[in-house]
């Protein structure tokens, strides 16, 4: 029996954000915007969903008089990502075999 894929991560933009955050200590909103190629509105909505699920933490601060949003993956987010990758492996292995 296959493990269920986390519906929160099984979407293009949210998975991109989590995959970016898994490899870094923290990333700015602009960095995520550039790397994903998403629109500001869309990425804001998806970040909010990930934050509400406890997968990421968002910090808003001022830097050089400009507002700066910084995102960081939480331990819960890391765990969810690892589970997602495990479940994905199962699907891919079964389709290869």
């Amino acid at each position: 029996m296959f493990k269920e894929l986390d519906p929160l991560l099984h979407s293009q933009l949210r998975l991109s954000v989590i995959s970016l955050l898994i490899g870094v200590k923290s990333a700015t909103f602009t960095f995520l915007l550039e790397k994903t190629g998403a629109t500001r509105g869309n990425i804001s909505i998806q970040l909010k969903k990930l934050e509400e699920a406890g997968y990421i933490s968002i910090e808003k601060a001022f830097r050089d008089n400009y507002p700066q949003t910084t995102c960081q993956i939480t331990p819960k987010g890391v765990e969810a990502f690892e589970k997602y990758v495990d479940a994905l492996k199962d699907y891919l292995n079964s389709s290869a075999g």
Partner: protein, 194 residues
């Protein structure tokens, strides 16, 4: 990027592409290697000439002057780079702590060696410490020229303990050229092909 539901292969590709694009690229940091490599090599040669040719008694002053200047330039460059990058990587943070720790250790060494007038141990110990720092740096980013450079720095450190101070300066110049300037140029080439 749309927020579509994904096929499994596409999920895997996204994960791979995003992790790759967020990785810290050592090639971007060639400035530090070239800047410090040339600065230290220049300082060593300048002090050697001040001792042997000019015979200036306060020859050691080149170190505090040029190293303070180097630290200020590095700090300015680091802050500018940090502002522009948008993401803080674990490797970047580890590197920053490693080199900051290295500078603090060097400060302790210089202070107490001067206090006890043990000037001859400063350069060999600094070389050994420098070997440790580039060994860890090379290991963190899996860059072999730095690991070989570390080996060379340690050997140079051992030799430097056995020779007089002006010769130590020449050994340090050679060690820095081979273990910092050469990898720096290789990184510069690498960064342009990435």
């Amino acid at each position: 990027m749309e927020n579509n539901v994904l096929k499994h292969e596409a999920s895997l590709k996204i994960i791979y592409d995003m992790i790759e694009s967020a990785k810290s690229r050592i090639g971007r940091n060639y400035f530090y290697y070239l800047f410090w490599g040339y600065l230290v090599a220049f300082t060593c040669i300048a002090e050697f000439l001040l001792i042997k040719v000019v015979q200036y008694p306060q020859h050691y002053l080149v170190w505090p002057i040029l190293m303070t200047l180097g630290t200020l330039v590095t700090l300015w460059f680091y802050l500018r780079q940090k502002r522009a990058e948008g993401a803080r990587t674990f490797i970047g943070t580890a590197m920053a702590y490693l080199w900051l720790g290295w500078m603090i250790s060097l400060g302790i060494l210089i202070f107490f060696a001067n206090m006890r007038q043990a000037y001859g141990v400063i350069l060999p110990t600094a070389m050994a410490m420098y070997g440790l720092a580039i060994f860890v740096s090379g290991g963190l980013v899996n860059y072999k020229p730095l690991i070989w450079g570390a080996l060379l720095a340690w050997i140079s450190g051992i030799i430097a303990f056995l020779v007089p101070y002006p010769v130590q300066l020449l050994i340090f110049t050679g060690a820095v050229a081979l273990s910092y300037i050469v990898p720096g140029h290789l990184l510069k080439i690498k960064s342009k092909t990435m």
